[in-house]
């Protein structure tokens, strides 16, 4: 099941890459000669490799499992009595959920500014992980402390967001 899903995701990704290389090639046509050679060579090479990869995946030559990874065997609170396929699908959904959380964090930084977004993100994330309200407040406070300390110590500039424009 997950193998199939990985294969579909890989095919979609390879298709998007092929399209990306085509667009790069077409856009390169407008560049001056000095600036054109490299992107043209790279986009053609990339397109050929993307196409070759699609053919290999469709012909079953390209294994689509995770590799080159550190296999961390998690001994967690998650249910261990599920079939491996069910567990993998749950991990897939869970991964998408965590990606969405990170997306939310960055959109929140853009809109609300770094400090407010940090407070919202950390407290929300800890609450999702079944921490008590007091723990959430402590973690949020600690994270804000970390942000303040580092930004003052190293003179870092952080996004301010849009909300302060209202006042």
């Amino acid at each position: 099941m997950t193998e199939d899903l990985n294969k579909k995701v890989l095919l979609v990704f390879l298709g998007l890459l092929a399209l990306f290389f085509v667009i790069l090639f077409l856009a390169a046509a407008d560049f001056m000669p000095d600036a054109r050679l490299y992107p043209v060579v790279m986009s053609i090479t990339g397109f050929v490799l993307a196409l070759a990869s699609v053919i290999r995946v469709l012909s079953g030559k390209e294994p689509t499992h995770e590799h080159n990874l550190i296999k961390v065997e998690v001994k967690s609170d998650a249910r261990q009595d599920d079939a491996p396929a069910d567990r993998s699908n749950r991990e897939y959904r869970s991964a998408l959920f965590y990606l969405a959380i990170i997306c939310f964090f960055y959109v929140a930084i853009w809109l609300l500014g770094f400090r407010v977004a940090t407070l919202v993100f950390v407290s929300g994330f800890m609450r999702y992980n079944k921490q008590s309200l007091v723990s959430c407040a402590v973690y949020a406070g600690l994270s804000l402390l970390l942000v303040e300390a580092l930004s003052r110590l190293l003179g870092l500039v952080l996004p301010a967001g849009f909300w302060h424009l209202l006042f």
């Binding site: 290389f21 000095d34 550190i70 991990e91 869970s94 990170i102 997306c103 770094f114 950390v122 942000v147």
Partner: protein, 489 residues
Amino acid sequence: MFDAAFTALQVVISPEHFGFLFLGVAVGLFIGILPGLGGMVGMALLMPLTYGMDPVSGVAMLIGLGSVITTSDTFPSVLMGIPGSSGSQATIMDGYPLAQKGEGARVLSAAFLCSMLGGLIGALVLSLILPFAVPIVLALGTPELLMLTFLGLGMVSVLSGKNPVLGLLSTALGLALGSFGTAPTSAIYRYNLGTDYLLDGFKLTSVAIGLFAIPEFVAILSRGGAITSEKRDLGEGWMQGIRDVVRHKYLVIRHALIGSMIGFIPGLGNAIIDWVNYGVVIRFAKDKSQFGKGDIRGVIAPESANNAKEGGALIPTVLFGIPGSGSMALLLAALIIMGVEPGPDLILTRADLVYVMVWSIAIANVLGASIAFLLSGPISKLAVVPFYKIMPFILILVTMGAFQATRHIGDLFTLLLFGIVGWVMRQTGIPRAPLLIGFVLSTLVERYLWQVTSRYQFEWLTRPGVIVIGVIIVIVVGFSLFGREHESD
């Protein structure tokens, strides 16, 4: 050269630079303990700090970090049977069974000591090779350098994953993404999508953090959040571990040298070095009966090799500007950020900086092993902290760091974009290191390509050096493409 080496030592041990080296070592030890997070995440975490930093401090900090990850990653491998990073997978084979017998302290002390010795031997190998490097570098012209860059890229592509075609595709993607922004050969803006943010192309910090940190966070969290709740006592045998290393001193030297040599080859990462050395120690052992059940030689061999790798990996990085791994690519990128132009000229113009790298490896290994020895109790407890309690803080740190590249919100959206791309690549088995290395080397490749085509047209292809390197590329890439296919058939 000797003067440069002596000056570099004086600089590294000055309080300011030593402080940054210590910071790198501390972060490296911390990252190594957390299973699933490796050198790339550590480098990505500290790289933003290098903006505006003097090169010596920055290099000391980053090398310090990279040198000790394979020291502290032994904790989870030995105590929990979980690799702390890709460089400690083989250590589990004999380290974990020994820890289960109550000899965890023996394994850890042996591992720390041979990690330190391996690191020192790696640094020694690097320092011995440097004096011979200058004439080699001077003999190379731009066409040969271009071909060497292609060779490095080709090797990284085909060796860093199981699918060479996908590796090559990943490299091509990195090289293509590197063409966004100003062309290095003329003042032309390419692919800036009408935004000011992309006038200089994608920012490396955001690309690296996105590709390597975000997907690891997501993967670890989605597997259940907590790494493990199992706590294991360190057991006994601290002195026995040291005696084991002394007894097997030739084993340490042999595997440290193998580690340095393999580290030199672009694309062969920690995981491969670990398993190759484990295989070699079994192959040449007279008594093989205890391997896999708890033979200390099965710990000594990979631990000596994986720390020695750093010295070997710096050779192509420093001499030719060709990083053999993702973390070496980040080191090169950090050099650029700090205003140092990496490449063959580095050894000619900044020999002091190259020797700072050598000393940093040596001192970091001694520091890392000493800290791991002294604080093994508290450090081992860190490995059982649930990841969801640490992840928000690391995410905040890397986000703050990524934003410092241009202080434009585009940095964060680049980070997010590459985080998603990195996660898809991770899930589907497309190696990510070639993308990053291609991205880092894209400007260099384009400049070399432009120089050779404008100066020599097609004549450069007939130069003997170019032909020799070209044949090697064909053999390496061809063997990987067709040899593996034949194997699988």
